[in-house]
Amino acid sequence: MDSDLICISIFTSEGISIWLAAILTLAIYSFLYKDNPVYRFAESLLIGISVGFLLVTTFDTTLLPKAFEPVGMGITGIFESGGINSIVIFIWILIPVVLGFLMFTRFVPKYAWMSRVALALYIGFGAGASIPANMQSYILRQIDATIRPFLNIDSFWTMVNAVIVLVGLISTLFYFFFSKEQKGAFGKITRLGTFYLMIFFGATFGYTVMARISLLIGRLTFLMKDWLGLIS
């Protein structure tokens, strides 16, 4: 790449960010040679920035518009109108905000019990919302998807696919049935289930390798294209 072009690009905001990103990328990859202070600095910087960004974003886009501003508006409403309606509205705003702040009492051991009230509501909501939803998506719809193909068989291969899925489901479920020793006919079915699991693990491992290499490709593309200009 033309060295003048590099000099010019360094002194622009985009150039500075590209150079910073490139240096930090190399700092992280230096770990591949061996652990070193440059790598640890880059790693700590990443963690610090991520946490800082999360805190600022959460405060700015959630706490401010969903808690502080409504409470402020509620108080203003009481002082401006003074009616019972504005007080009721203020209480409705205040309840979830107070419950949210009760979570912070965990930091003070003496008052930590207060956080359980908010936590109980949170767990109750979570369980109530997720149990039927997961039952639907992970169990009922999956049973339906296993059985339904047998009702719509239009070719030999459709039937083969449906049988492979059904056998895989049953044998894998048998594998996770631990109340009976895996011997005899039962043992043979569970062994078949093991093969299905191995195929799944193999596929997952293959996808994982693909994902990790994709990340390397992304970074090398950045270094060779955006930083060094070796790729057009």
């Binding site: 974003t57 959460t58 886009t61 939803a133 639907q136 719809r141 390397l216 490709i217 060779m224």
Partner: protein
């Protein structure tokens, strides 16, 4: 020490060097290996293709910066398709880091098609607590996002004035590196019947095949390979297409090391 003993004690840095060369050289010298389109990606393309100009699609950036090299090419490809079709895009994030990534990404891609912020696309910002956020959008977008991440009241954004809840949305696309699409399926698809598509890291792909088979998701675009397939479908080669040569060669290097490692293992066993 035999060659097989040496293979066992091979310095891992030599493997890294081979992997580096396997990725870097194909990036410098294009081979142009073919990319075949899989049905899961084609279904996503076909569904977006079936939408009308003016329809609204919600794109949720549910990932961190760590997986950006995988997520960005697919996000670019899908957004290009949406803007090509004059479909309106509403962006949001269920991960804090997705806020910056999403806004920047939508703005950049929209600029390629001269789309106007606020009219052709909008970005709402970040909401924590995934379940509450997704369920809340089923009632009112404005209640979940009173203001966007730049402080503009959502009710004042022209595009958002026509959007009340999922009833006004044709499709939800979750660009993610974890299991967030399960939440979209559980709470947006199951309860509000909105169609869901996932743009995933390749690691997560096997988790979502059952959701596609059971009709709970239309399809998925998984990893850099999925992005390259999508680029091929929209006939606009980008970073993913270029990366496919490197991906294939790196896989061959990996397979080579697995084969050599196993041969070394067997030979050493025989030698004992």
């Amino acid at each position: 020490m035999s060659i097989w003993d040496k293979a066992k004690t091979l310095d891992r840095r030599i493997i890294f060097l081979f992997m580096f060369l396997g990725v870097a050289l194909p990036l410098l010298v294009r081979i142009g290996l073919p990319v075949s389109v899989t049905p899961d990606v084609e279904r996503v393309y076909d569904y977006i293709e079936s939408l009308e100009p003016g329809d609204i699609v919600l794109v949720s950036y549910d990932h961190d910066t760590g997986t950006l090299p995988e997520m960005l090419p697919m996000s670019d490809a899908i957004l290009r398709h949406l803007f090509m079709k004059d479909i309106k895009v509403v962006g949001m994030a269920l991960r804090a880091e997705g806020t910056g990534i999403g806004r920047q990404n939508i703005r950049r891609t929209a600029a390629e098609f001269n789309k106007l912020e606020g009219e052709d696309f909008a970005f709402l910002g970040f909401r924590p607590e995934i379940t509450a956020a997704i369920l809340g959008l089923g009632t009112s977008f404005e209640r979940v996002f009173p203001k966007d991440d730049t402080g503009i009241p959502v009710g004042e954004i022209p595009l958002m004035q026509g959007i009340q809840n999922y009833g006004d949305i044709e499709l939800v696309i979750s660009i993610t590196d974890d299991d967030t699409p399960v939440y979209w399926v559980n709470y947006a698809n199951a309860r509000f019947k909105v169609k869901v598509v996932a743009g995933l890291t390749a690691v997560m792909a096997t988790t979502f095949f059952p959701f596609i088979d059971s009709g709970q998701m239309i399809g998925m675009v998984a990893g850099l390979k999925g992005a390259a397939e999508y680029e091929k479908l929209i006939n606009k080669a980008g970073r993913a297409a270029r990366g496919m040569d490197a991906q294939s060669i790196a896989h061959l290097v990996m397979i080579g090391f697995i084969i050599v490692g196993n041969i070394a293992f067997v030979m050493r066993k025989r030698g004992k």
